[in-house]
Structure formats: C-alpha cells, structure tokens
Amino acid sequence: VSNAPAETASTGAAAAAPAAAGSNAEAGEKVTIGFSVPAADHGFMAAMTDLAVETAKEYPDVELKVAEGTNDVSVQISQVETMINDKVDAIVLLPFDGAALTQVAQKAMDAGIPVINVDREFSTAQSSRVTVLGDNYGVGVSAGDFICNELDGKKDAKIGEIPGIDSLPLTQDRSRGFEDALEKCGLEVSNRVPAEFTVESGEKAASNLLQAAPHLDAIWNHDDDQGVGVLAAIKAADRDEFFMVGNGGSANMMREIQSGDSVVKATTVYPAYQAADGVRVARLVAQDKALGDLLDIEIPRQIVLYAAVVTAENVEKYLPTAFES
Amino acid sequence: MNYDQDTESTPGGSTLLEMRGIEKRFPGIVALREVAFEVTAGEVHCLLGQNGAGKSTLIKVLAGVHQPNEGQILLDGKEIGFSNPDEAIKAGIGTMYQELDLVETLTVAENIFLGHEKARAGFSSRKAEHRAAAGLLTRLGHPEILPEMEVGELSAAGQQIVSMARALSRDVRLIIMDEPSAVLDSEEVRNLFDTVRFLTASGVAVIYISHRLEEIRVIGDRITVLKDGTAVASNLLVADTPNAELIKLMTGRSITNVFPALTPVADDAAAVLEVKDLVVAPGNEPISFSVAAGEVLGLAGLVGSGRSEILGAIYGSTKPVSGSVHLDGKKLRPGSTVSAVNAGMGLCPEERKSQALLLDDTLAANFTLASIPRYSLAGFTSGKREYQASMEQITKLELRPADPMREARTLSGGNQQKIVLGRWLSHGCRVLLLDEPTRGVDVGARSEIYTLVSELSRAGIAIIVVSSELEEVLGLSHEVLVVSENRIVHRAPAAQMSEHRILDLVMEGTTL
C-alpha cells in the first residue's frame, strides 16, 4: 500500500514512519484532501476515521477536510459536491452506499479531482482513480475455512453467524464467502442474527441467538467491536461448548485469543487502516507520485488489502498492529 | 326570579383589600386603566360590566395571574404584589375562574386538593383527601359527586361545584367568583348563595361577578361598575341603586324591553324540522316533535336533564340509537354533522371553548368556519369576502374589539360567545339549535341576541333554544318542551306556562 511495511503503516500515530517511505515521505507541494465517511456509529468506523485523520496530521503537506459523518446519502453527496466546488486536490470517499455515490464521484473525476474509493465499492470502476478495499468475500472464506478445519469433518455441526448491518453490500459479500466456504465441507449456517456493528447490538443479538440455539459448535461474528458485546452475552449465558471466530482485528479480540481460555479462537484482519491508506494514496495521486517499490510510475487502480487470519499461533505478530476499538 | 331575599345589612367591616391605580396593558389594548377597587371583610362586592370591560382581567391581577403595569395592591393596609398565583393563594385569596380551571384528567378529590395535597412525607393520602372532599361536597349539597370520579366526566355545572369545593378547601379570607352562575340553574344558584352567606357570616369577603342583575340584588352588598377598563362607579350600595341605573352605567344607554314581541307562527306554516321516534341513548324513551318555519321552540329543564344530548342527536354530533330526523321532509344521515350542516342546520354548542372556537385563529376564521366554500372561488379563499362577512357580524353583534384579524383567545368570554352565534348567522340556516346562547353574555348583548332570535324567526327560520334560565326560555319561545330525565314530559305554548309550572312539571317527571 504505502512504501512502508504493512505492519508499521497500519498503526497510525504509534508506529507510522513516513521517513521509511523513501522519497514519497518528503514533503511535496501542499495538497488539500476532502474526506467523507459514514457516521462513526460503530467502533470500526470510528477507528477507521481516526486513523485517517491521524495519518493526515503526519504529513505537513496535507490538509484534510473532514465532513460530518453521515448515513444520509443525500448529505454525503452534497459534501462531495461542496468539495468539488471547493476545488480540493483529491477526495477520499468512504461511501455509505457505493452505488448511490457513484454519480457524484464521477462528477468529481470529470472535474479533474481524483477520487479514492475506500471500503465500499462504487458501481463503476471509472468513477474512482484508486479503490482501496478490504477483501470482504475473502474474509468470509477465511472464517469459513478456519471453522471447517477446526470442526474437522464433524457432521450436523451447528453454526451461528452474527453479521453486522445486513443491508450493506460488504456484509452480504462476507456472508456469501462464509457460506461458500462452509459448503465445501458440507456445513451450513443454522442460526443467523444480524447486529449493527455496536457493542450493544452485539450483546443483544448474541443473547437471543444463544437462546435460539441451545447447542452450537461455532460462531462467526462479523465485527470485533460488536464482538465485545457478543462475548459479554456468552459469558452471561455461561456457555462455552463452541468456539468463536471474529473479524476486524481489534486489539481486544487479539488479547482474547492470546489468553487461550477464551471461546475466541481466531479473527480475520479486516484492516481499519483502509481509509488511512486512502489518504496516503490520495496524497501521492495528488502530488503525481508513484508507489516507490513498484516499477509502475502510476498508482495502481485497485488495492485489495490482504485478509490474514489471526490465531493463537501468530497473534504475537499481529497484536502490535491491531487497532483499539 | 325568586331567590330568598337577603336581609342582612351591609357589614361595616374593615377594609380588607384595596387596589389603587391599576393599569394593565395587553399587546394592542389597554384592558384596565387607573382602576381603584376595595373590599371590606364580610361583604359581597359585585363587579359589573359589559363583556370585555375588564372584570376578569382585574381579578386575575388580584389573583397573581397577571402582573399589573401600574398600581398597587394593599392587603390589610400593607402593600403586596403577587408574582404568581401561589403567592395569592398563600395570602388567603381563593379564586373560581370564569373559564373552568380544573384538570379534567384528574379526579374530583385530586382537583380539590391540587397544590395543597394531603400528604405525609410526599406520599399522598388518598383516604384523607376523599373523606375531606366528600365532606365539602356534602356541605355544598352534592353528595352524589363522588371524590374518585374523573372531573372530565362531570357536566359543566358539576365542575363548577368542584371548583367551589376547591376554593373552600383552603383557608381563605377572600373568595373571587367569576360568573359562577353562568352554568347553573336557579335551584343551584340558590345553593350557591347559601354558601356565600355562610362564608360572609364568618367574615370572609366575596367578589362576585355576574351578568344577571337579579342575582346582584339578592346577594350583593356593594357594586363597582367597569366600563372599557375604567371604574365608572365604585362602592354603590345595592339597595340604593336601581337596575336601570346599573344598565345605564354599564352600557351607556337604557334598555327597557328585554324580550321583543314574537310574531305568531302562521297556522299553515310547514314543519321544517321533524324528529321521529328518536332514541338518544340506550334505555331512553323515543321522542318525537316538529318545529315549523318561523317557530321558536324552547327546551326547559334542569341542568343535566338531557337537553344538550337531544340537540346533539338531532344535529348528528352523537349517533342516536334509533329514529330519524327530517329537514324539509328530507331524512338526515344519523350521526353526521356534515349531513345536518349541508341540509341547513346550525348548532351553537354549550361549551364554546372546547366545542366551537379556534382559539388561536382569527375572528374571521372563526366566523367563516362552517361556510368556508362560500368565501372562496374554485377552492381558493377570498380574504375580501371573509372580511366583509366578519365585519357585518361584528357590527351586528357589537363585538369588542371590532377587529376581524384578532385572535379569538384574546377576547373576553362573552364576546367569544358572540363569535359562535355570528358563525351561524353568516352561514344562514333553515334550522338553528341554540344551546345556552346567552351564557356569559352581558345585558346589552343579551337583548341584542333576543332581538336577533325574533328577527330570525320572522324570517322563517326554525329555532330550538335550550337555556337554564327559565325566564329566557319562556320569553323567547312560542312553544316550550319540558324535559326531565331524558324524557319530554310536557309540551305547551309558552304563554300558558310559568316558571313555577315548569318546575312542578320537572318534579313530577322526576322519579324519586
């Protein structure tokens, strides 16, 4: 993504070292970057926003214009319109709904402002200069594969799934990947209760799920932040006949994995530093630079971040890079 | 009227309260100007004046509801000022407001003790309150009003009794009664007077406001007359001041003939309104009668005898159990006010505030409410036509202030009543139902309304009048229906009836 090694780049203020990024780190011409995201109504989104803002502060040549976080596409469109009027040099856009923001992104591109699309994809690739994505389908597959492996051919295993906001395409992609992976080993999801990415909703969804399924073998929880609530519910119900896989890669979950006596056995890394990377890329694009380690003199069109699986074996390696949700 | 004559002499007690140079301004109007007013302990001081003269405003200043712009209030010779009602209450001033000031969703006992609940450490003691409330109500002659009843379920008269009980529930030195008799019948007014006498005998002063001069004669000691916000006469002795002089003081003219002569109904006049076997509520007897063009029919009876309910069933505001109503031979849809209004019927309901007025809207909007389409072209309203119609009614009814763009809320009680009448006058109906049309209306306007009724009847309109003042029913109507306990017990030409006869008929009709 950036020229820095992934681990250090991802931690924002803590470890990021622009100096390591070679010549790209040197201050270039001053650029203004517009930044618009959905409301920080859950921990992951908040972490993502914050990392981006922190990252921007590291670069003296970047001025980041943060628009009010909103889940109203109409408002978000207007924010982008305002940025276009404002003639910013690049826009980092994490759309509430990718398809709905496509047109206005196109408008920005047409106006000569490069748009960096983060996390939730536009409906046409031409509407952004670069797309930085987590691998949502891949995350689902990883979680599914891990569960298949752990259960080791156990038939009729009961699997619970606690997705996040169900109407988001990224949730749908994750579930699809999960289903596909389970299918390969002959399993399927027996109970599925969506939460809303918040601790509170996670606790509520899990409480009900545990009642609906008197016995479970595994749970996949889509989001580590809501996972804190899920764990609280599991403790309250005093259940431990199953194991749980998370997603997101929060420090909390990694510590759970590390402790060894938790139901949490693994989590997939869904990087919260996507937006931060988006900001870095935007800076480079605006300053007309390339990614230092690639021969390509242009920034690539799409960057899909790798979805690693964190387990007790490799948690030491990932913990320092994890975000505090 | 035959209230028991007051034989007490005017008490020469000490001055309890004095108001000096009171001035009260509202946006766009000066309601009180340099008013001086005094009350001595143990007297009944009557406050007279036309609608909008400022009576209610004056007593609200006294009760701490309004703060005067100028002037002083002295209690026992010491200057005081009330910045809120609580302070006035604490100083021993109890008030029965003109517009009933009860919380309809609370029970009788809860209303009586509101603000001074019987409680131990904050926990209310329902039993003690119920006992005390029942005691007060019995003392007022109404043990049938149970303390646990919700006030909203009581009739207006019942609510007035509760209001009275509330004023008595505190230690008071002065009680203000703003038109307490407006919703009461003669029987009940007598009851009220007994209470007033009991109070004055123990040294409590009473400020009494009413538009019925006979009542003043019976209960009052001294009179202060307000006109357009100024006191035109103060401390007149009741015994020395004839009615004619009072009327002159209030209105600036003399009114002699109260009830205009009725034009007899032609023998061949067609029945406009026919009521056939109407059963108003489950268990009631069916009622039938008809009213001819130009006829005024009075419904006489005691409060709560069911007169308003009969009007409601005819008008369609409540759905009758069975039976039918015909207007010009056409059957009306039962339970539909739309059908009644379209056929040419109009109703002035008894509770103007809750049933008739748009308090926050202009007078013009209130006048035209029933005939909105008439003041519009192809669905678009015409301000000019509305203004014209409103001004006509304002002039005709002598409404004050004469400004169609004023909010109805800011008008005095009597003037608000005139708005409702004006609504149907400008609408123009074949049949007009008047439920207590002169409630709270001053002498001058009252005679205007009487004249209006006779004019309307001459123009061929059928009218039904309900009034708790038997004199009014008798004076206005061609024929009288006596109603008792939801039944029509008698029908006769008004000329053959008297107040006594009606009361006798009512008693006979009452199942004991």
Partner: protein, 342 residues
C-alpha cells in the same frame, strides 16, 4: 343565502384597511419568521467569515439548496401533518419503498420501453398509497398517528428490503436521470421541484379551503366537526399528501443518487420533523408555516455545508450543532418577543 341579506336590505360594504404589499409581506412571512431569517443570515455570515469566497460562491449556494431539496419536499408534506397535530415517522421508509418500487428491474424495463414518466409516477403513487394507508388507520381506525406511522416505518422499510433484496438498484433509464437529474437554465431540476412544491404547499395551506380546514382541524377538531367539516376524510387526505411528498422526494433522491435503495431516507423522519418544528409549526397543531419549514430546512443544510467547508472534527461538529440549534431558537424567541412589544 345568508340571512343577513334578507333581513337587512341595505348592506354596508366594509373595506379591509389597506395594507401596502410591503407591509403585508412583512406581516405574513418575514415578521413571524424574523428569528429564523436572522439565524440563517448569521450562519451565512459565519460561513463567509470562516470560508470566505468558497462559501459565498454561487455553486456552493446551489449545493446547499440542492441538499435541502429532498428533505424540503418531504418537510412540506410533514408541515400539513404536524399542523393537524399529527406526526409522521414513516416518511423516510416510504421514500425508500417508493424508490425501490420504482427502480425494480421490471419497473425499469417497462420505463425503458415506454417512458421514464412511468417511473416517476410509480414512485409518487407508491408514496401516496402508503400515506393513504396511514391516513385510513389514523382517521378511521383511530390509531394514534405516532403508533401508526411507527408501524408503517418498520413495515415499509422491511418491504423495501424484501423488494430490493437489500441490493442497491442502479437506475439505467437514462431519460429519467436526464430529466430529473438535469438542469434547466443552470438551475437543477430537483431545486425547481422543491421550489414548485414549496409554492404549491404555501398556496394550498394559506390560500385554499383545504388549508383553512387543515388549520381548523389542527386548532380544534371538535369545533371543526361540529361546523360540518369532514374531519376524517380530510385527515386521511393529509397523510396521503405527506406520502405523496415522500414519493416525490424518492424520485428526487433517485435522480440524485442514480439508485433506488432500501436504505434511502434512513433517519429522514427526524430531520424532517426538526425542520418543521424549528420552522415554527407547533407540534400541538393549529399553527403551521411553510415558509418557516423552508427556512428550517435551509438552516440545517447550511449548517452541514459550513461544517464541510471548515475543518472541525466530527464530534465537535455534533456538539456545535446542538449548541447552534438551541441558540437559534432562543434568538428566535427573543426577537419574537421584542416584535410583539412594539
């Protein structure tokens, strides 16, 4: 025929004291909304001060109005509902349902083969129909509006999700996007729609018998009933109108986003009620101001714009928003009181 004419042959003609057009304008709109106008101007001054030309730029102004347009149109409908002391929590969900219904595959195919107008009509019809259901339940079923529209909010949103299978429907009918998403003489069509709906709403509320009855029902439903007004039918019509406005809002949002989605209009109900209430329409009914509503919507969208132009942290923006809302209302009250005194 008024009896007055019959009994009084000579009829005096009363002429309304002449008010100059200027004074009338002051009275009708400006005076009462002085505080709001003041608050809006203050925000603009703040914008000009903090963001200079970038704020005062005509493009930026158009952006503000464009943002206000969707909420604005829906708020006009809600003004009627709140004027009769009702509340409509379902407008956001109805908007989503209308948008999704109009953009389903079969619908779009039909629109493509015939005319884009059908897509627009579908959205409006669906909105009006959902509003009508609200209206029937409230007026004839006597279920309180809060509960009815809360239920509709859940049901319409759920139905929208089912219809769209939770997928964002991309609009492929180009003529629709051109027509509703385009410009006329440099003014975006959705802004024109907003202006038209606002003017239409103002006339309907203040200059027609329909509006007169609306105020009457809001002020005193019992009095309205006794005066022969069809309170139930009128109430039903008003909720249908609010639904229709949500449908119009749907097609505007469709053009703006080039999509139909079950997530459209999430949280819109609160924005709408806030705009209407800030605009001076009383939740207790009987008073309503379309002009005030438009100002309310503009205030909120200017606020968003201001925040976007300046570089406040998201959390600080929220705190500031709260403080600004309360101050705006306090200023409004202060000015209104002073106006009354003079």
């Amino acid at each position: 025929m008024s009896t007055t004419t019959e009994t009084q042959p000579s009829r005096t003609v009363y002429t309304r004291p002449r008010r100059s057009a200027m004074k009338w304008l002051l009275d009708a709109g400006l005076r009462r909304n002085m505080g709001l106008i003041f608050a809006l101007l203050l925000l603009c001054a703040l914008g000009a001060f903090t963001a200079g030309d970038r704020f005062a730029d005509s493009n930026n102004m158009m952006t503000i109005v464009r943002l206000a347009a969707v909420t604005g149109v829906v708020s006009i409908g809600a003004t009627f509902v709140i004027t009769i002391a009702g509340i409509d929590l379902s407008v956001g969900a109805i908007l989503a349902l209308s948008a999704v219904w109009a953009t389903t595959v079969s619908g779009q195919a039909f629109a493509e083969s015939s005319s884009w107008i059908f897509m627009a009509l579908t959205a409006m019809a669906v909105g009006a129909a959902a509003g009508l259901i609200n209206g029937i339940l409230i007026a004839y079923g006597k279920v309180v509006s809060f509960i009815t529209t809360l239920a509709m909010m859940a049901a319409a949103r759920g139905l929208a999700e089912i219809i769209s299978d939770k997928k964002t429907q991309i609009i492929t009918v180009e003529p629709f996007l051109k027509a509703v998403g385009g410009d006329v003489f440099g003014v975006p069509v959705i802004v024109l729609i907003f202006i038209l709906v606002a003017i239409g709403g103002w006339v309907l509320l203040n200059r027609t018998t329909f509006g007169r009855r609306t105020f009457a029902i809001g002020g005193n439903p019992e009095a309205a009933r006794l005066a022969g007004i069809k309170v139930e039918r009128h109430t039903m019509a008003i909720y249908a109108l609010a639904g229709l406005c949500a449908g119009i809002g749907a097609l505007m949002l469709m053009a703006r986003t080039t999509t139909g989605s079950a997530t459209h209009g999430t949280g819109l109900e609160l924005d709408v009620i806030a705009a209407v209430v800030i605009g001076g329409t009383l939740l207790t009914g009987g008073r309503g101001s379309i002009f005030g509503t438009v100002l309310g919507v503009l205030i909120f969208s200017t606020l968003t714009n201001l925040f976007t132009l300046n570089n406040l942290s998201l959390s600080v923006q929220l705190v500031a928003k709260g403080a600004i809302i309360v101050s705006a209302v306090l200023i409004q009250r202060q000015l209104a009181r002073r106006a009354q005194r003079t």
